[in-house]
Symmetry: C2
Subunit: 345 residues, 2 copies
DNA sequence: AAGGTCGCGGTAACCGGTTACCTCGATGGG
DNA sequence: CCCATCGAGGTAACCGGTTACCGCGACCTT
């Protein structure tokens, strides 16, 4: 079908080695030879066969990014950033959707598809401590999430506890005292939700407050729909509250929608805060107070760490469970502060 | 490093052909032989080398999906669906972001990275009629968009004109007469925006109305931010309007945000409608009237058409510029209808 | 002028699968 | 009882790159 390196070599009157030297920008090629080869390539419309190169080199130049679901804005934004960062380093990204299901998350680690790539950036949702040994695989892995899941694999983490505490302190500083939590209440776990819940409880405790169990709107999956359901449950439960901390932004947006439907004014009656700083929140009505977890930094760091391991000399030993924690930034907006006063014209 | 097929063959006391027969589920393998091979595979922890298989087969089992940007909700949802549909057919998806820039869109067609995959599902934004010849490539391509761009490549299109006419008719039926357009006004072009604009103008014309040029809020890129800017321009322009048709949902959401900031009540003073039916619109305040372009159908059809071409016998000639148009559905919501009356308890 | 060095490029083995072609033994029909 | 047929599995060429190793001429050194 299409031309091979041998064809090019023949056409240019050189050997395949020389052609290879040219296409790979090797130094020792005479200028005249180089141009002769390039001309032959142009003439024949030669395109390198990547499967052959990959087989020869023993690597593919691709990495897998495993996320729960692309239609969740946070993961779409994450993928966007990872693709760009990887692209800058010459890597191509293959996205795997796990749906946040434990079974599918485990499969990502062993699937045939994974073997087409050199390494894995993994954002697990359902994996628990006991699954840690499964992460002991023979290819480089970088985890997005806390080290608590596994101590020997590099992690890029958010400051979940600190950021959640900051958000909660923000609500407390505004005088809110009965803060409902939207999301799974599981302060003992190791996932992002558990850590954010811990930060939330820490802030309450520091303020001398307790958290009544009735002020939890449970949401297993983190979507707008489950956020809405959780809020309906809270409102129907009858326990009064003057603020809501949702474990992420889509939950918060789902909750805000229900508050609107039930004529509960935000933030006058109930202040709402989320987590993630997805763009949607900036344009919501009211705009959503949240915390930016440093997504660009997270994506770039993850790619850097992975590429570092991919290109490491055989002798290079990776450090003892490296963990990078990204910087976070509070984003106070209308859903807690209220609407900015309109300048009178 | 890791075991090869030859190692497995040796361990099982058979030939590589037999191992290959086993792993590929060939029929003529005796049960005892099969189990012996499987045992050896298990024992050695054998994993197939995909680069070698790909080289041998001349295909990779991967397809490229080229979209403008993953952080745009519509394309995130599209990617989600395409990945799942491809996965069901045994294909892996590699996502390429073009940023909607013509240069990068053209590069997708020739880039080294593309050559790692067997085919391309392409959602171009900036390509124009003159670029059509570039689409004449030697690998299968399925375009998302109208056939107008190129007649010999299969297309999966939305009913852009009809759907936009339907949305506009909906606004007209509600008594709105001065409808602003948010997005690029270019009824002559071939892109989605132009087609939607045509449908919009058709509906106006049919109602005996003209469209004053002042009622255009231009937005080159289709994002919340540009939608907001366009709306500011419209409001500052002073030309009164009682409705807005935004060429897609994120534009509409950006516009609604500005209407809120300027104390313009939606839909009482201005009704707003979008296009795409992204989930965000269902949870917006007010919820966004829009039209669902049949995204799942589009994604599945595109994958089907591409896979069909990838697996086609050499003799199979593809039809003369196949075009599939997905079904659309109006989604009237609060941004045009107003808030549903609360049932009194 | 002989030997050394360096730049340039050729030859062929190798990466790890797939598969055309072939062999061999068992079964069955005449 | 012999040969045709068929199922099972072996052998080796091939996919198209990379690269270790080697040869050769030109220029430099002393």
């Amino acid at each position: 079908m299409s031309a091979t390196m041998r064809d090019v070599a023949r056409a240019a009157g050189v050997s395949v080695k020389t052609v290879s030297n040219v296409v790979n920008d090797f130094p020792h090629v005479a200028a005249t030879t180089r141009s002769r080869v390039l001309e032959a390539i142009e003439h024949l419309g030669y395109q390198m066969n990547f499967s052959a190169r990959n087989l020869s080199l023993g690597r593919t130049g691709m990495i897998t990014l495993a996320v729960p679901e692309l239609s969740l804005p946070y993961f779409a934004a994450l993928s966007d950033e990872v693709i760009d960062a990887a692209s800058e380093r010459g890597y191509t990204v293959l996205i795997e959707q796990t749906g946040g299901q434990r079974e599918r998350e485990l499969e990502v680690l062993v699937s045939a598809r994974r073997r087409m790539t050199d390494g894995l950036i993994f954002s697990p949702l359902a994996l628990r401590g006991p699954d840690a040994p499964t992460l002991e695989v023979e290819f480089p892995v970088v985890l997005l999430g806390e080290r608590s899941l596994h101590s020997r694999v590099p992690h890029v983490a958010m400051a979940n506890v600190d950021a959640a505490r900051a958000v909660t302190e923000h609500l407390l500083a505004l005088g809110r005292r009965r803060i409902a939590l939207v999301g799974t209440f599981d302060p003992q776990g190791a996932g992002a939700g558990s850590l954010r819940t811990r930060g939330f409880l820490e802030a309450l405790t520091a303020a001398g407050l307790e958290h009544p169990p009735a002020l939890v709107g449970p949401a297993e999956a983190w979507t707008r729909t489950t956020g809405a359901e959780a809020m309906r449950g809270l409102l129907d439960g009858g326990e009064p509250f003057d603020a809501v901390f949702a474990l992420n932004d889509v939950l918060a947006l789902g909750a805000m929608r229900v508050l609107y439907e039930r004529d509960v004014v935000v933030p006058d009656a109930v202040a709402v805060a989320g987590f993630d700083d997805i763009e949607e929140g900036r344009f919501a009505r009211p705009s959503l107070t949240t915390v930016a977890p440093g997504l660009p930094q997270i994506a770039r760091t993850a790619v850097e760490l992975l590429v570092e391991r991919l290109t490491a000399e055989a002798g290079a030993v990776d450090g003892p469970g490296l963990e990078v924690v990204a910087d976070f930034t509070m984003q106070p907006r209308e859903s807690t502060l209220g609407r900015a006063p309109r300048p009178s014209p």
